[in-house]
Amino acid sequence: MHRAAVLLVVALFITSCTAGNSASPGGGGSGASGGAKWDPKSISGTVVLSGWQSSPAEGNALTQTLLAFQAAYPNIKVDYQPIAGDYQTAMAAKFASHDVPDVFYVNADYAQQWISDGFLEPLDSYISKSGVDTTQFYDGYASVFKGADGKWFGFPKDGNTIGLAYNSDLVKTPPKTMDELVSMAQSLKGKDGLTAPLCLNPGLDRGLAFLYAQGGELLSSDGKSAAIDSDASKKAIQWYMDLFKDGLGMTASDMGDGWCGDAIGKKHAAMIFEGGWLDPAMQSTYPDVKYAWSPVPTGTSGSPVTISFTVSYSMGADSKNKDAGFVLLSYLTSKEGMTKWTQGGVALPARKDVPVPEGKDVLSQENAYAKPGSGFMKGWTDVQKAFQDAFTAQLQSKTYKADPVIQATKSAIDKALAS
């Protein structure tokens, strides 16, 4: 009796699986009627918009932006459905069931993965039809949402660069070079109740900025092979690790803090490397701590460099309402939409033609030269994990050797590039 039932279930599954397979992957521009003139005002329908839940400030900014969109395009109704809990888990279920929102957030971290898996809709046909100007996006943000074939799979909704945030009571003039950073840290060491002068991350999520600044590279210039084992890269990583060895830097975890924002807020550290998200956290949690921003100091590479993080608005290959979806997507990433969204200071604009929000001038000026801090290669999360695990092992065993870190990272890069 039960055997029959099992067979039934198996049969049910196989049919449901194969039924799902018939959908063609990434059917480009299927929603748009070919050749017709693009007139966004005449497009109507309901667009389901999804993203992760965020702070009340972001919620308000989004509401304002959507109201402005509604006024401009009264024929399109936006149904905003934020996703609670783990975003990638929830989206996995939606991709599997071919029931995806029309427009949704894609973090640069996994954008390349989602592009190559065919989850996202290429935007090129919509771009050429609508004549949307894509040249205003900063390249550091836009590049991570392009596929290997150069097609667009999303427009950056905003961005963030990593800068140096310093306690302005303890640091009067911020360091301009990495040498100044080290000597400043040495002068602060063991003073003013600091646990360590610098709060540093043991991973590439910040370490990459130091690697670039000190003349190292992760990948070769064509992006096809690892360059982490070059002499310059080795020196850069050893230099970064020596900050920990010499007691100038410490991880947030070892300071007893959840992240470096807590470390500067509790005066455990005087200098940290974070992005614009630090500002609301400091205002709400540590309103009495005085701090200021400065660009990431210039290292031996000789030119200013930092890394940036971004998120896109994208459409799914299985989205139902793509024309209306693109109208919303292009509005939210247009000069007008992005101005509305960023003027409250929730993030940096990803476009050159959007005015810099108040208090974001230092971080915004880094936009000009920032390199992507994630998502610029497939399998990036594995590379990051390999680096961080090996780096942490060196810190905790107090051996402080760059070589094992480089070997682990290189083999992760090789594996990622080969796949």
Binding site: V9, F13, C17, N21, A23, A92, Y110, D389
Partner: protein, 315 residues
């Protein structure tokens, strides 16, 4: 005294046996149908996709055979995950069973304030794992309450014998992270296991104890000679549920070590590894292979326990 193992009623006629079977199938029908669809169905789905290169949206792309299984077993991170998971289970299961049994026996007596103690001992089990793990991270931070307290009590020399510094980062250090989670989970789950044992203790009738008392057995003897063996069905339940749960450690691991199982994979468990494969790399067939390896391990251990704890028909 009733013999527990002898559940077979005498003289069953054929028609009675048939009607008994029909009644039994009726009694289990609803749960079994749900299980077949939602659990066993998922199981076969996992077997099916684990031999493919599988795209979650568009389905099978390439037949891989056992490649996913081979890759998993060859991955040092997965090996670490297996070791971590087995280590956790081997330490946590006996500790939490012993703690749960001790608490149950204590609050099963006629003691003053029994209701209070029953509530108090169960209390850590009430909070969600997210809330309690967050608190644990807070308490065990380098300058957290635990380190402050042992400093104030002057017992740091004792800790330094084991190489722990006064500001030991318990959850952030790869040598102490897993043990810290074991302590947390013994603490929080002992209440649940107390509940299981408390229910089991009720099925032992007084006459058994009265007989033991007449025989002049002391408390300690009565416990080991009578209570403990009579709890056999309870032990089997508790041990099975604990091993199954222990091998699926996930919540505390991801909350304290993040998806990466930090520091340096010290918190990487098999389910966390599976989670990474499925929802970070979107490699569902690889995740399915991991799930099936885990299933095979749990299944084997459960069968061994069945041998160990119970003879048919009480298993």
């Amino acid at each position: 005294m009733a013999s527990i193992s002898d559940a077979r009623p005498p003289r069953r006629t054929r028609s009675r046996a048939t009607s008994e079977a029909i009644a039994a199938y009726g009694f289990i029908a609803v749960p079994m149908v749900l299980f077949l669809i939602l659990n066993i169905g998922s199981f076969f789905y996992a077997i099916y996709i684990s031999v493919w290169k599988w795209n979650i949206r568009s389905g099978p792309e390439k037949f891989l055979g056992i490649t996913n299984y081979q890759n998993a077993i060859a991955d040092p991170v997965f090996q670490k995950a297996i070791l971590n998971t087995l280590y956790y289970t081997a330490i946590w299961v006996p500790l939490t069973m012993a703690a749960g049994l001790l608490l149950a026996v204590v609050v099963n007596q006629k003691i003053r304030g029994r209701t209070f103690f029953r509530a108090a001992f169960y209390f850590p089990s009430i909070a969600s794992s997210a809330a309690i793990t967050t608190l644990w991270i807070f308490l065990l931070a380098p300058s957290g309450l635990f380190n402050e307290l042992r400093g104030a009590m002057g017992i740091n020399p004792f800790f330094s014998l084991f190489g722990f510094s006064p500001t030991q980062n318990w959850l952030g250090d790869q040598s102490t992270a897993m043990n810290s989670i074991i302590v947390l989970n013994v603490w929080t789950t002992s209440g649940t296991f107390m509940l299981f044992y408390l229910a089991s203790l009720q099925s032992i009738s007084h006459e058994v104890y009265e007989a033991a008392a007449i025989d002049g057995a002391g408390g300690w003897q009565t416990f080991w000679r009578i209570t403990f063996p009579l709890l056999r069905p309870g032990h089997y339940f508790v041990a099975t549920v604990a091993v199954i749960g222990g091998l699926q450690l996930f919540d505390q691991a991801i909350l304290s070590g993040g998806v990466g199982g930090d520091p340096n994979n010290a918190m990487m468990t098999m389910v966390l590894y599976l989670y990474n494969a499925a929802f970070r790399q979107f490699n569902f067939s690889y995740a399915a292979a991991i799930g099936l390896i885990l299933f095979a391990m749990i299944f084997t251990l459960t069968l061994i326990q069945r041998r160990f704890f119970g003879q048919a028909p009480s298993w």
